[in-house]
Structures are given as C-alpha cells and as structure tokens.
C-alpha cells in the first residue's frame, strides 16, 4: 500500500461575491489522494477549481467543508509547511529584488541560514539557467525567466512535497524540456509532486496518475493507461476520389469529413468502422489508408468537457 502524502476528502469551498455577498460554490466535494514518490497531475479547464484546490491545501483560503491532510501535518499551521515547495500560477515576486536576493529571502523564511542558502542558490540558479541574470532586478525579467526563478524558489528548502501550479507556463520548448527534466530528477530523489497544467501532452509524459476536475468536481482519477482505456478509439480513413461522392456514401453516419493533404479524410468512432468501410466500398472512392488515432489525455479531456454537468 503506497504511503499517502496528501489526502483530500469532500473538499467544498464557497466564496461570497458581489455587493450582497451571494454564495458561489467553487469546489463541490473534491476528493483525491497523492502517494509518496509519485507525480500527480491535476488538470481541468479554466475556472474548474484547480487553483482554489491548491490554495485550500496551502491554507490561503479556509475550506467551507472537507478535510485536507498532508503526511499527518495540518497545513493551516505554519510549521506544517517546512517541507513544502510551491510555485504559484503566474509567479508574483518583488520586482525590486534581484533573482539571487529573492532566493535568499525565501530561504530565510524557511529558517535556513545564509551560508546554507548561498550554496543551494548557486546550484539552483545553475539548474534553471539563471546564473547570469541573478543580479538583475526581477522587474526586468521576462515571463519565462520569472517562471524559472519561481521554480528555483520552490526548491530552495529541498522540499519533500512540491506543488507546482502551471510550471510550464511562459516557457519556450527548451525551457519546458528543462523543467520536465527537473521534475523527473526530483521524482528520482524520492520527492512527491503535485502539478497542474494546461499542457496535457506534458502531463501525459510526466505524471504517474492524473485527476481531472470539471466545474468543481473531480470526475476521473487514475493512471494515464487506466484513463485512456476508457475513451473510445477514433479511426481515420484516407480516400482518393470525388469528395461529393464520399459525402453521399457516408450520409447518415456520424462521421467527420475533411480534406487532408489532397485526400478526403474521414474520422469516426471504432463502433462505426464496419459500416463506414461498407459504405465506402459501394462508392467509386478508393481507400488509401485506415488506422486508429492515438488516444490522448487531450482527447479524454475534450470528451469529458463535452458531457453535460448533470451526467458527471
């Protein structure tokens, strides 16, 4: 049985909005666990409740209902955060500080001595490729540079549990690759990582397990393999022949038709494979290829997003 680092049970969060203080329920009973040593991806569309969940975990907002436990620690007590590292979404820092000064400040808030911070800061700045910019004030940093210094400050205390809210945001492909390598390195050291990201391909590549949140509820949790098994396989068929004839042949079937690289492309669910093949065979069009489309987390995500809320 894996050791549980984070356990969230039935987390509910209401906010008061507007002049009359109308209650809006943002989290509607979120439950999931994160196991020691794994990378857990937390994905969902904008406004689904990812950041509110993270804020509830860190004690920035008080849950309306529900229980949050981290390795037995209560994160509403400051001391419980000694072995936590956190990167907020769109990192906000002190623009009058330099990158190095920021790391020293964050390290001191963890109770580290300056001599200890000095060596850690040097190593982290090198790791995130910010050594040359360490003496530049943060107000002059680009978004990507802020993201990299943000990750460095999240790791300054060598945390056991790392929470990253959109760690790839604002990074170019090289930067994203470096951060992915960094995250995997932390995992190899036995750290536990909880991350949220819109870049589903990155989540798929990095995460051991994924939780999908929609409209304040976690609708799916599992390993990538488990989740992808649930979605239907789509097929793609490429055809040569007049487009109109193909369109007439598959009329009445739930098929997407488009032109692709000079061919007519049909996309359909695997349940329709026989009927589509049969329909096309009766036409003048010639089948060039027929292959399953790769299942992806993005596909699952889009599929779930199309579902009505009542069915979740």
């Amino acid at each position: 049985m894996p050791e549980t680092i984070l356990q969230i049970s039935d987390l509910v969060k209401d906010y008061k909005t507007g002049f009359l203080g109308k209650q809006v329920r943002v989290l509607k009973g979120v439950s999931f666990t994160v196991n020691k040593g794994e990378i857990f991806g937390f994905v969902g569309p904008n406004g689904a409740g990812k950041t509110t969940t993270f804020k509830s975990i860190l004690g920035f907002v008080a849950p309306t209902e529900g229980i949050i436990e981290i390795a037995g620690e209560n994160l509403n007590r400051a001391e419980g955060k000694k072995s936590i590292g956190y990167l907020p979404e769109n990192p906000y820092f002190y623009d009058y500080l330099t990158g190095e000064e920021l790391l020293f400040y964050m390290g001191e808030l963890h109770g580290l001595k300056r001599s200890a911070i000095s060596e850690k800061a040097r190593a982290l700045l090198e790791k995130v490729r910010m050594t040359e910019a360490k003496a530049v004030q943060l107000r002059k940093y680009s978004k990507g540079m802020l993201q990299r210094i943000g990750i460095a400050q999240a790791l300054i205390n060598d945390p056991d549990f790392i929470i990253l809210d959109e760690p790839m945001s604002g990074l170019d492909p090289i930067g994203r690759r470096e951060i992915k390598d960094l995250i995997l390195e932390e995992k190899r050291k036995g750290k536990t990582i909880l991350l949220s990201s819109h870049m589903l391909a990155d989540v798929e590549a990095l995460c051991d397990r994924v939780g999908i949140i929609m409209e304040g509820r976690v609708i799916k949790i599992g390993s990538i393999g488990e989740l992808l098994k649930e979605i239907h396989t789509d097929y793609e068929m490429l055809l040569e022949g007049p487009v109109e004839e193909v369109r007439q042949a598959v009329k009445g079937l739930s098929v997407e038709l488009e032109t692709k690289a000079g061919y007519t492309a049909l996309k359909f669910d695997e349940d329709l494979k026989r009927r589509v093949v049969g329909a096309v065979a009766n036409s003048q069009a010639e089948i060039v290829s027929l292959h399953p489309l790769r299942k992806s987390l993005e596909g699952l995500f889009v599929e779930e997003a199309k579902k009505k809320p009542d069915s979740q």
Partner: protein
Amino acid sequence: MRRILSVAHNTFIEAIRDRVLYSLILFAVLMILSSLVFASISAEQYNKIVKDLGLTAISVIGILISVFLGIGLVYKEVEKKTVYNIFSKPVKRFEFIIGKYLGLAVTLFVITAGMAFILFILVVYIEIKYEGLINFYYGGHFYAEFFNAVYFEYLEFLVVIGIALVFSSFTTPVMSALFTFFLIAIGRFSSDIRLFAEEIKSPVSGFLSEVLYRVIPNLEKFNVRSEAVYGNVIDPGLIVYTTVYAVIYTAALLLLSIIIFERKEFK
C-alpha cells in the same frame, strides 16, 4: 524571530528602493534649507526659526512617509499576490505583520536620524555664523531638547505607522489614507475637541468626544517642538511617560492588525 527579521529586512529594502521616498526626502531637505532664508530675516530669532521650521519639516515629511508607505504595507503584498510566496513557507501571520511594521519603523528611524543630522548641522552652522566661533564655543549650548523633540517626533511616526498598518490589513490604499489622516487630525486636536464639547454641554457630543479622547491616541503629546526651540528642559519623567504611551498604543494597533489579518483569505 528570524522570520520576523527577514520580513523586516525585505520591507526595509523595498522602502529604500522606492523612488517616491527620495522625492519626499528631497522635499524635506529643501524645507530644512529654506529655513536659512527665513533666519536671515530676523537676526535675533535666527536659531529659533531654523529649529522650528526644521523640526516642523521633519514632522510633516515623517508623517507623510509613515502614511504613504504604511497604507501599502499589507495591501500591496495581497494585491500583488506576493503573499502566496510568503505563506507557502512556515511563516505565521503575526510574524508577517510584526516584520512589516518593524521594517517600516527602521526605515523611518534612518530617515528621521538623517534629517535630524542635517538640521543639527544647520543649527550649529547658523549659531556659529551669528555668534562667532569663540562665543559659540563658550556659550553653553544645550541640544538635548532638540534631540528629545526629534525622539518624540519619531514616537509619533511609530504610532502613525501602526494606524496605517491596521487599515492596510483590510482596505484599499485610498481608504487607508483617508482614515489614517482623519485619525491623525483627531489625534492632533483631541484635547481641543474635548474642550469644545464641554463648551457645548451636550451629553451626546460630550460622550463622543470623551470616547475619541480616550480611544484615539493624543498625538499632541508627541509635540515638544516649542521646548526645543526655546531651550526649555523636558522632564525625564515626561520622556518615559510618552515612550510608554507610544509603546502601548503601538502594541494595541499591532494586535488589531494581527487579529484582522489572521482572518484574511488570499483569493
């Protein structure tokens, strides 16, 4: 304790790297130097004019800095969301409040000491200029009241920072500034308000003025400029009393800020 000092250090750095601060300090220096012009008008009152104008400049600029930096102490961190970085670390809310206060208090100390030093040099220069060096040397000048007046001004700044910090914990800078200046005005005139209410002889106004007098710090207690200007000795008992008065009010204001901030959510 270390975390409080870290927050204080960062607050101090923020203040001294704020360009608005230098504009205010420059204004203070100009005000102090302008006293030279007025001093030349009246040869007999030269040193009194320089001291009076100079101490007034320190008071005005110190209050302005206390208010304008104080109202943003907490608000800016919440608005710019730098609180996420602070409170994802093992920092208690009261450590943050005390650290922010301490940082600005140290900033005001440095600025007040700097302005007082400039004024002191100016006062000595003026007195040497008008009395001549030998008369100045044997004249027996007492500057204790001058430094006591500066110390009292600094105590007032500490209380004003506390007031600004309370409002900064829950409202916008504009409202914080309005409320803080309103309380400074009442604090400066609370004795007069009480006397005025006694003249009206209305139970309601009497009650209200008594509440204001008791609750809001009487900032006139920190004004000993006339003693400094006329060289009147300030009783050591008064210095102790005023210090304790400032400490009690500052502690109460800090406690109020902590209570308000403990309940705050960072959305």
